[in-house]
């Protein structure tokens, strides 16, 4: 079965065609500048059989982009997809696992769009368009929140009035679940441990969003993101944890307009707000600014970023109790040894001892950068959300073959 995995960004569409269950990549790529026309033309960067090609196309929305991708696949002689696997950020309380999209599921998806106003609507619109145009092509929605459905109530409950929380569906949903689940499975395999006996803290440190996940017996028990992807760690433009009274002060300054505050906290905070120059922590860590004020600001930005990360690592190691491993993944987690070192140094009290030389050695992934004596392993694992979505899609459509897929 050939599964076409689709991942909608706000102005991009990533796709990957996978032959399942063997997970062989047939083609892949990314349509960029999807949406209203920009200074540069919209392009598809296509990758097939080791060949990289660039195609220009008008792509006013994700549905058109999808059509272009299908055409491109046909032109380049790639096999026809037999199923679509969509990545969705938020599954709300309704979707605790991947779901086959039918009319009822689509209605549910449309109903929960407001839970992730930045992320869900483009993917939902694409699913609706695909249902209309290719009714015979099976579609599966894979949710970032689904892995976190196992977070126990005491970790998922905010200390707000219980009735109100029930009425508005307020609880910790957690995000990046697809990635966390993938790297946890990979890590367990790498260490040769049975997944159902594997406990870990998974650190998904992307260049945009970032979250930690506490994993006990292969299941998520906590995630630093909360009701929305705004809570927790310092992110590229998101503030992460904040005194609720700060949001209230900003709300008053915005004359009671919540949209304005939402934008401030999501778009101009985080690394960007702290550093004032870049939303990418890599730029901040590599910067050699002129002048003491600028240097101090860069220093402060990286310190706040790393300190919050370190504190949460401690919190989640306490949650897990005896972690078999700490897993680092995604752009920052995979490529920045200094970030891993800053948060793993002097963590002996949690049974964490890093081999700093191995950590800095740039070993091929997956790799273990803990000392031989460290009770907790420190792993660097490449995440592959598309592959994870492909696996989930296949497993959902072919439940009997699940064993082979895993």
């Amino acid at each position: 079965m050939n599964v076409l995995v689709l991942n909608c960004g706000s102005s991009s569409l990533k796709y990957r065609l996978l032959a399942m269950p063997e997970a062989r990549e047939l083609a892949g790529g990314e349509a960029q500048r999807v949406g209203p026309r920009t200074a540069e033309p919209a392009r598809i960067f296509h990758n097939q059989d080791g060949q990289k090609t660039v195609h220009t196309a008008e792509m006013p929305d994700h549905a058109t982009a999808f059509d272009e991708v299908l055409q491109l696949l046909a032109q380049t002689g790639a096999p026809k997809p037999d199923a679509l696997g969509h990545r969705l950020v938020h599954g709300g309380a309704r979707f605790a696992g991947a779901a086959i999209v039918d009319a009822a599921a689509l209605r549910e998806l449309q109903a929960i769009q407001k839970l992730a106003p930045l992320h869900n609507p483009p993917a939902t619109a694409l699913i609706a368009a695909c249902s209309a145009r290719y009714p015979d092509l099976p579609q599966v929605a894979v949710f970032d929140t689904a892995y976190h459905a196992s977070i126990p109530d005491y970790a998922a409950t905010y200390a707000l009035p219980a009735k109100l929380a029930a009425k508005l569906g307020i609880r910790k949903y957690g995000f990046h679940g697809t990635s966390h689940q993938f790297v946890v499975e990979e890590a367990a395999k790498f260490l040769g441990r049975p997944l159902e006996k594997f406990s870990a803290v998974s650190c998904h440190l992307g260049s945009g969003g970032a979250s930690l996940c506490a994993v006990v017996d292969g299941r998520s028990v906590d995630n630093t993101m909360g009701f929305s992807p705004l809570q927790g760690l310092v992110m590229s433009t998101r503030c992460g944890d904040l005194d609720p009274s700060a949001a209230l002060r900003l709300l008053i300054a915005a004359q009671g307009n919540p949209g304005a505050v939402e934008k401030t906290l999501n778009k101009t905070s985080g690394v960007l707000g702290l550093s004032g120059v870049s939303a990418d922590i890599r730029d901040v860590l590599a910067a050699t600014p002129r002048g003491t004020a600028a240097a101090a600001r860069m220093q402060a930005t990286s310190q706040v970023y790393l300190w919050r990360l370190r504190k949460y690592l401690g919190a989640y190691l306490a949650t897990v109790g005896r972690a078999d491993a700490i897993i680092f993944t995604d752009t920052i987690g995979e490529t920045l040894p200094e970030v891993r070192a800053a948060v793993c140094a002097d963590m002996d009290c949690f049974g964490v001892r890093m081999d700093f030389e191995r950590n800095a050695a740039g070993l091929p992934l997956p790799c273990d950068v803990a000392t031989a004596a460290s009770p907790t392993r420190i792993l660097v694992v490449a995440t592959n959300e598309e592959l994870a979505i492909g696996r989930r899609t296949y497993a959902t459509l072919m439940p009997d073959e699940k064993q082979t897929a895993a």
Binding site: P244, S245, L248, R249, I252, Q255, G256, N257
Partner: protein, 402 residues
């Protein structure tokens, strides 16, 4: 914070009620507000307002200055009342929790509420970021905004204050009001050589316009008509009458004058050689301070966007304080009613809303009263709104100790 306000209010209620009764006890027909102005000024000084000014118009203005003067909120009422009906003995009294007397609802209860709302914030030790102005103006009822125009044009600028929001203490029955229709009084003169013909034409005009618009007795309809009067000057006979029309929107004044002129001339056509002229009624008024000013008898319709941040924040503040906040507009059941909103919104472009303890139905009525409880609620509610607009927010702090 709200617990503190309520608790402190409890110890101010008696004073506030006494002050309201004092105000009602002093007659203050338009252009004769001196005595009541004196009372208000004394009270502002006694309550420790940072600045207290009585301007040349006779308005009384008190200000509590904020730490940063980020914004200025003005609480505005008027000192004057309309003349009592002859057989109303104007007994000022408190009975069954009601304060009776001329101007109780319109708008002396409002003066007391706004003045004590400002004091309540001060007395509760809740610091302000912006400035809080309390102003009671003259010649509102009769002078059509003479006092308030002076307040905005001269007095506040001289005090270094420029209001960003205004709350009128006019009777709203504790609803949040954001505008009303206007009205316009016009004098129609019919001039001709034949006095009988002039009479007939005047009568025709009265009938036609009356039919077109109904009569004022029908419960605050659009039109009020005075019987025409004729005078003879040499060989020329002149009949004059007065009409008034409701204005639905700001900016209707010129159109309305043209329309009424046209209608009056239509009624007079085919009736021989007469001149029909229509003009806005205007007259000179002498304020109690001796200053004179021309009053045009136009109250323009005004409207603050019900989704203006002022409305939003006021509604949010009242909800947080546990007060009702029914939005609405004044009905202006009678000719001559209006508020300073016409001047404030249309001429000075300051977002304005109304929040006061009196009921509109009581205004200009015999046996006018205001409920004391509503004065207390207005004090608390106005303080809550003011704090939300210009107070230093207390976000995150509980009333419980830490």
């Amino acid at each position: 914070m709200y617990a503190i306000l309520q608790s402190r209010l409890a110890s101010l209620k008696a004073d506030a009620a006494e002050f309201a009764q004092e105000l009602v006890g002093v007659e203050s027909l338009s252009l004769h507000e001196e005595q009541v102005a004196e009372l208000v000024e004394q009270k502002m000084r006694a309550l420790g307002f940072h600045q207290v000014v009585r301007d040349d118009y006779g308005n009384v203005v008190g200000a509590l200055l904020g730490r940063q003067a980020t914004a200025t909120l003005a609480l505005v009422t008027h000192l004057d009342t309309v003349a009592a009906a002859k057989d109303d003995p104007h007994p000022c009294r408190v009975e069954d929790g009601r304060l009776y007397g001329l101007g109780a609802a319109d708008c002396k209860g409002g003066i007391a509420a706004q003045l004590y709302a400002a004091y309540l914030l001060k007395y509760s030790l809740l610091p302000l970021d912006g400035n809080l102005v309390v102003a009671a103006t003259v010649a509102e009822e009769n002078g059509l905004g003479l006092g308030v125009r002076g307040l905005l044009e001269r007095t506040l600028p001289e005090m270094g204050l420029k209001p960003d929001h205004i709350i009128l203490g006019e009777p709203t029955g504790l609803g949040l009001y954001y505008g009303h229709d206007g009205w316009m009084e016009m004098d129609i003169e019919v001039e001709g050589l034949n006095p009988f013909q002039v009479d007939d034409i005047a009568r025709n005009i009265a009938t036609d316009l009356g039919e077109a618009m109904g009569s004022p007795e029908a419960g605050g309809e659009n039109f009020v008509l005075s019987q025409h009067a004729r005078r003879q000057h040499g060989g020329v006979a002149t009949a004059s009458m007065r009409v008034a029309r409701r204005l639905r929107q700001h900016g209707d004044e010129v159109g309305m004058l043209t329309q009424v002129t046209h209608e009056a001339r239509q009624s007079a056509r085919n009736s021989g050689a007469v001149e029909v002229a229509v003009q806005v009624r205007q007259d000179a008024q002498r304020l109690y301070t001796g200053r004179t000013a021309v009053a045009r008898r136009v109250v323009s319709a005004w409207n603050t966007d019900p989704f203006d941040p002022l409305m939003t924040r006021a509604r949010q503040a009242l909800a947080a304080a546990g007060c009702a906040s029914q939005p609405g507009k004044w009905q202006l059941g009678r000719l001559g009613m209006g508020t300073a909103g016409s001047v404030l919104v249309n001429e000075f472009k300051v977002p304005t809303i109304g929040y006061g303890p009196g009921c509109e139905a009581q205004a200009h009525e015999r046996g006018e009263f205001v409920e004391l409880e509503k004065i207390y609620t207005a004090i608390y509610g106005t303080a809550a709104i003011a704090h939300s607009l210009i107070g230093i927010p207390v976000c995150g702090w509980t009333a419980d100790e830490i």
